[in-house]
Amino acid sequence: MEIGLNHYLVLSTILFAIGLVGVMRRKNLLLLFFATEILLNSVNVAFAAISHYYGDLTGQMFAFFVIAIAASEVAVGLGLLIVWFKRHGSIDLDSLSSMKG
């Protein structure tokens, strides 16, 4: 069986769903970052696959951009996370409710 575009897209969808569930269900901030990474990379898979399918490099370039942005986002996010942990001793999401309106 040859692996075609559909397979990649199905994989991307599954990964996206897993990421989405992770974003909704996880209470640990660190694992939330993992879930966002899964989301972003599921999209990357779709970008690369479609780019290859059309023979157009734009999609793959976009995937690189996403990777770069994701890396910087995680760097900033982890920095904030460490500061938060030092202050409060917990990275549980339910303890982060100072934004309550």
């Binding site: 909704m24 982060l96 934004m99 309550k100």
Partner: protein, 639 residues
């Protein structure tokens, strides 16, 4: 010449805006002086234009800019100075210059000195727009402008409840009439396709009589409001709550004559519909008598003069309605001079008497106020139409016109009214200036007005005396434009008898007034027989018309408004608006729990929103792709 036109028109506007800068500051003498100078420059420009027109110059017609141009509607800001408007411009600027200078003295101690000049100059500007416009739309703008300024000036002392009430009454009554006028203007546009005077008049001859009659009636309704003709007359007497210079300028000399101006201006229309003209003349004659009768017994100096204005406006309408437009315009001019003089004299008396208005509480003032006495006597003689003063020439021509046109009833009414006019004018003069000094009981120490006020009034005094000499030049000037002709009574004997008879009749009325009132010694207290007679009460209460309006129109209107307020406004309109607000507020109240501050919950909502938007995108995408099929299914279902 255009330069003079623009100066005449815009100098009052500059004056008004300049004075308006200082309305919030204490009295500044220079606002009065600057305003007077600017109005005077307007007078000089008008005079230059008058000389130019008298020399036989072509009417000056300018189109300053386009005002409205949509589709077939084209209305420019156009101004015309022809024989009719230049007459009005002279009257307006002359009287307003004098009133401006006089007001510097009259409003001397008033806190609103600067504000007063701002309003007064704004009035002059509006009046100039009214008389100089070359189309009905511009005339209407000026018409509304003078109405607004009249409101502001009647209610100038707004801390007095009567003043604000009178201001509102004048404004609302004029609004009612203006609706009629607006309909008239719409009809003109609808039927002729233009609002320019020349274009509209040229098109009138092609219209059928019924349409013209409606146009004539509706335009005249506007004139009735502005010129306070019956039944919209009650505001004029109440308008006397304003400062006296305002009464002299607005409610005697200029604004109230705007209705006459409108009829004269639309003369070519009224020539085509003599029936409406006859109605106007009859109403005019009726108002002349009606107003004069109310002036007979009134005990308020300014109201007496106001009724006399009303009565003279009736004369003007009688003349205009009979097609004697030039006579109406001439009487308008002569009346402006002596009536403004009379009002300004009354202002002097009011100042001297500390705002006392009841002539029965005055008496013997000629000793202390010699010049005011002379001025008011001459103004009254002119008003009564005694030879050789201004009123003789204008009023007698009206009588002659009525006689020559064979409207003997109108002639009779006007002649009788001339006697009444003479009587009430000299009743006032006799009560104020002659007889015992009754004011001493009230502890008042009267004094003559400032010298410069008297000097300011002197041009009016001279004009009230000599305005008759302008009759022939005036006739020659407007002859062509107003299609004027002299009124000849064929038999010289008849003419002589009429002239002498009128003079004798008027003179007898004056003598009777002097005999009855010149030696008056007591202040009436409502107990004498005459004060309790039915006629006296009827006249004193103005035929109970204000009472009737109050009782049957104002009250029922108020009740109706109450019902609409509680039932319609509160229950339907307000309820709808409040309901919408309530729904939005309630939704907000319910959904604010979403904003829990918990990151995990917010992420879930975010995902929910994403899913929602995605599903919408899918639904619309599918609907767009299969739109043809969906439509065919729907049409099959009969939707």
């Amino acid at each position: 010449m255009e330069k003079y036109l623009y100066i005449a028109l815009f100098a009052p506007l500059v004056s008004s805006l300049f004075s308006a800068l200082f309305t919030a500051t204490p009295k500044k003498m220079f606002t009065g002086i600057v305003a007077s100078l600017l109005i005077f420059s307007s007078l000089v420009s008008s005079f230059v234009l008058l000389m130019y027109i008298l020399d036989g110059g072509e009417p000056v017609h300018v189109e300053m800019m386009t005002w409205m141009a949509t589709g077939h509607l084209y209305i420019p800001f156009g101004f015309i100075v022809d024989q009719v408007s230049v007459t009005m411009m002279m009257v307006v600027t002359l009287v307003s210059t004098i009133v401006h200078i006089y007001s510097i003295g009259y409003m001397d101690h008033d806190k609103g000195f600067n504000r007063f000049f701002s309003w007064l100059s704004a009035f002059v500007f509006s009046m100039m727009v009214l008389v100089m416009s070359d189309n009905y739309a511009g005339l209407f703008i000026g018409w509304e402008g003078v109405g607004l300024c009249s409101w502001g000036l009647i209610g100038f002392w707004f801390h007095k409840e009567v003043a604000t009430w009178a201001a509102n009454e004048a404004f609302i009554m004029n609004r009612i009439a203006d609706l009629g006028m607006l309909i008239g203007i719409f009809l003109v546009y609808w039927n002729t396709g233009t609002l320019q005077y020349d274009g509209a008049f040229a098109a009138f001859s092609t219209l059928d009589t019924a349409t013209l009659t409606w146009i004539g009636i509706f335009l005249f309704i506007g004139a009735m409001g502005k010129s306070a003709q019956f039944p919209l007359h009650t505001w004029l007497a109440d308008a006397m709550e304003g400062p006296t210079p305002v009464s002299a300028l607005i409610h005697a000399a200029t604004m109230v004559t705007a209705g006459v101006y409108l009829v004269v201006r639309s003369g070519e229309l009224y020539d085509l519909i003599p029936n409406v003209g006859l109605f106007i003349a009859s109403l005019g004659a009726f108002v002349a008598l009606f107003a004069a009768s109310m002036a007979l017994v009134n005990r308020d100096m300014k109201r007496i003069i106001a009724y006399s204005t009303l009565s003279q406006l009736g004369y003007m309408f009688a003349a205009a309605g009979l097609g004697a437009y030039w006579v109406a315009l001439f009487h308008l001019m002569a009346h402006a001079f002596f009536k403004a003089l009379l009002f300004l004299g009354a202002g002097n008396v009011m100042h001297a008497m500390h705002d006392e208005l009841d002539p029965f509480k005055m008496g013997g003032l000629k000793k202390v106020m010699r010049w005011t006495w002379i001025m008011m006597t001459i103004a009254s003689l002119a008003l009564a139409g005694i030879f050789p003063f201004a009123g003789f020439f204008s009023k007698d021509t009206i009588l002659e016109a009525a006689f020559a046109e064979h409207h003997f009833v109108i002639y009779g009414v006007l002649l009788f009214t001339a006697g009444l006019t003479a009587f009430y004018s000299f009743r006032l003069v006799a009560l104020i200036f002659h007889g015992e000094e009754r004011y001493k009981i009230f502890g008042i120490h009267p004094h003559e007005a400032y010298r410069f006020m008297l000097i300011a009034m002197s041009p009016l005094l001279i004009l009230a005396m000599i305005a008759g000499v302008f009759q022939v030049p005036f006739f020659e000037m407007v002859e062509e434009i107003l299609n004027a002709h002299e009124y000849h009574i064929h038999s010289h004997t008849t003419l002589l008898i009429m002239l002498v008879g009128t003079q004798v009749f008027v003179a007898l009325a004056i003598l009777y007034a002097y005999k009855k009132y010149a030696s008056w010694s007591s202040v009436p207290d409502g107990t004498s027989a005459i004060e309790n007679s039915f006629v006296y009460k009827l006249l004193y209460n103005q035929y109970y018309i204000p009472y009737f309006y109050e009782e049957y129109i104002v009250k029922s209107y108020k009740e109706m408004s109450e019902v609409f307020w509680t039932k319609v406004d509160m229950k339907i309109v307000d309820a709808t608006v409040d309901g919408i607000a309530g729904i939005i507020y309630g939704t907000g109240e319910k959904t604010r729990d979403m904003q829990s501050g918990n990151l995990s919950t917010m992420l879930k909502w975010m995902v929910a929103g994403l899913v929602g938007l995605l599903s919408l995108a899918v639904v619309f995408g599918l609907a767009a792709r299969y739109s043809d099929e969906i439509l065919s299914i729907l049409s099959a279902l009969g939707v």
